[in-house]
């Protein structure tokens, strides 16, 4: 089953998800081709065990642009005719993968965390309804299947390989949405990525007024306060405190979560913490999938008792 992986790069560096895609691709049997798209594709290190061919696609644009990647992927699919195309489920892929699938009529699914073959068919597994159910999706043979794989769901391919390098010519792409510059999100007063102990709060705290008591509790416990996305969206805490895919990836010794249901994007940013303790009223909350210790209770009752203990 021939597989094409599109490498993802940012400011000249290959992003980790690319190596995870290579692991997933080789498990499907191969041959595996990896496309390196950029102004200097040879500088992108994607040569790993499991890769048979590296396709350099030279383009004018140094950084990701939707139209450029779309044109490159369409050309790659037309020329290489892969059975399966794998991209990371990332912000960049969200900018062009759906477009390619719609244009070429491909089989398509995103945030996939398991892929297998069943004869000539491809079977992909992804979550629905806040991870309450998993769906196994079947793609019949005959047309390429484009899958966006969940980051961190596969281990990265690490060992250097011996792939053939080929080139694919692409005429200049008139890009309709052009990269101007990168800006770092505003730096906060704290760096949650270096803290040993994070007390992290989510939507379950309910009201903005409740932030103060958790700030106080964090201070008493010697923890740094972190938050999940809804708290930042509501404007209650700055982005610098946010854990998750669009925030920071953290790996503290202890991650103590209050009222965080555990959206996939959040889990991606904290699931490798050494010890995860989660307090949530919903026994079905997805955070309990990655927690080492779970408390199904009213989070305010537990927070109050904690505050008393460390007073």
């Amino acid at each position: 089953m021939s597989v094409l992986v599109v490498a993802e790069q940012l400011q000249g560096r290959v992003r980790d998800v690319t190596y995870e895609l290579i692991t997933a691709a080789s498990a499907l049997g191969g041959p595996v081709a990896v496309a390196a798209i950029g102004s200097d594709p040879a500088s992108l290190d994607v040569n790993r065990v499991g890769v048979d061919e590296i396709v350099h696609v030279r383009v004018e644009q140094a950084e990701f642009e939707n139209d450029v990647y779309q044109a490159a992927l369409e050309r790659l699919i037309a020329e290489r005719r892969p059975d399966v195309v794998l991209l990371g489920f990332t912000v960049n892929s969200m900018g062009y993968a759906g477009a390619v699938a719609a244009k070429l009529g491909l089989g398509f699914a995103s945030d996939v965390f398991a892929v297998s073959r069943d004869g000539d068919a491809v079977v992909a597994t992804r979550a629905f309804y806040g991870s309450k159910t998993h769906g196994e999706l079947e793609f019949a043979a005959g047309k390429p299947v484009l899958l966006l794989l969940r980051p961190t769901a596969w281990p990265p391919a690490e060992e250097a390989g011996a792939a053939n390098v080929t080139e694919l010519a692409l005429e200049p792409v008139a890009s309709r949405a052009r990269h101007i510059e990168f800006r770092e999100a505003a730096k906060g007063d704290v760096d949650i990525t270096t803290a040993d102990f994070l007390l992290s709060i989510g939507r379950g705290i309910g009201e903005q007024e409740n932030i103060a008591m958790f700030e106080e509790l964090a201070a008493k416990l010697g923890a740094t306060l972190a938050v999940s996305r809804p708290i930042v969206d509501a404007g209650w805490m700055p982005n610098a405190r946010q854990v998750g895919q669009s925030g920071k990836t953290v790996k503290p010794k202890v991650y103590l979560a209050f009222g965080i249901s555990g959206a996939v994007q959040h889990l991606a940013g904290m699931k490798t913490s050494e010890t995860i303790i989660a307090v949530n009223t919903d026994p079905e909350a997805a955070i309990f999938d990655v927690a080492h210790y779970g408390v199904v209770a009213d989070l305010f009752d537990v927070a109050d008792e904690l505050a008393k203990l460390v007073d």
């Binding site: 939707n66 945030d111 309709r176 010794k253």
Partner: protein, 189 residues
């Protein structure tokens, strides 16, 4: 505008109450993002909008791809995961695209365009009671479409084992709090 069955109309009425002038329900419940985009495309095209805004992803499926597929079907430039829009109403727009880790990619985009907008881009206005009442009376146009073949076949749905790895801490809140303090002290070393 949304695609869905009658249940989807409550969401549209909230939009009307918050200031939308018109609402359209595309009467289709496609499974996958490409089919959803196909269901929406004709109706969106008929609006000839200068700017088409979609969300980044739905809460139930989280595929993150309907907007991008729709832009392709409408032949519109697009930017995904937008957290800021600077546009005067004509010509080029400048938008922020939020990458993983919070890095911002500033992008210049030709218009008309489609943007998939990230949550938190602004603070939604409140719908007052009067507006909610008015919205209840307002007509929602319903358009029937055929979304065509789905992008996949669902072989089966399974309920994953929940919290298999977590040790549950039982007891009243004070006992649980005591145990948490012990664990934290032990793990911080």
């Amino acid at each position: 505008m949304t695609a869905g069955d009658e249940e989807a109309e409550s969401a549209l009425r909230r939009c009307l109450a918050m200031g939308a002038d018109r609402a359209i329900r595309v009467d289709a419940s496609p499974l996958d993002p490409v089919s959803t985009a196909r269901a929406l495309a004709g109706v969106v095209a008929a609006e000839s909008a200068d700017l088409v805004l979609t969300g980044v992803q739905s809460a139930d499926s989280v595929q993150g791809s309907t907007g991008t597929a729709l832009a392709e079907l409408l032949e519109l430039p697009r930017v995904a995961v937008v957290t800021r829009i600077d546009w005067s109403g004509t010509g080029l727009g400048t938008v922020d695209r939020e990458l993983e880790g919070g890095l911002i990619d500033v992008v210049e985009v030709d218009t008309p365009a489609l943007l998939t907008v990230q949550t938190g881009i602004n603070k939604p206005r409140y719908a007052n009671l009067r507006a909610i009442k008015q919205a209840e009376q307002q007509e929602i146009s319903v358009v029937a479409v055929d979304a065509g073949e789905p992008a996949y076949r669902v072989r089966r749905m399974i309920t994953p084992p929940r919290g298999a790895g977590a040790e549950l801490l039982d007891g009243d809140p004070s006992a649980v709090a005591q145990r948490i303090v012990e664990l934290v002290t032990e793990r911080l070393g």
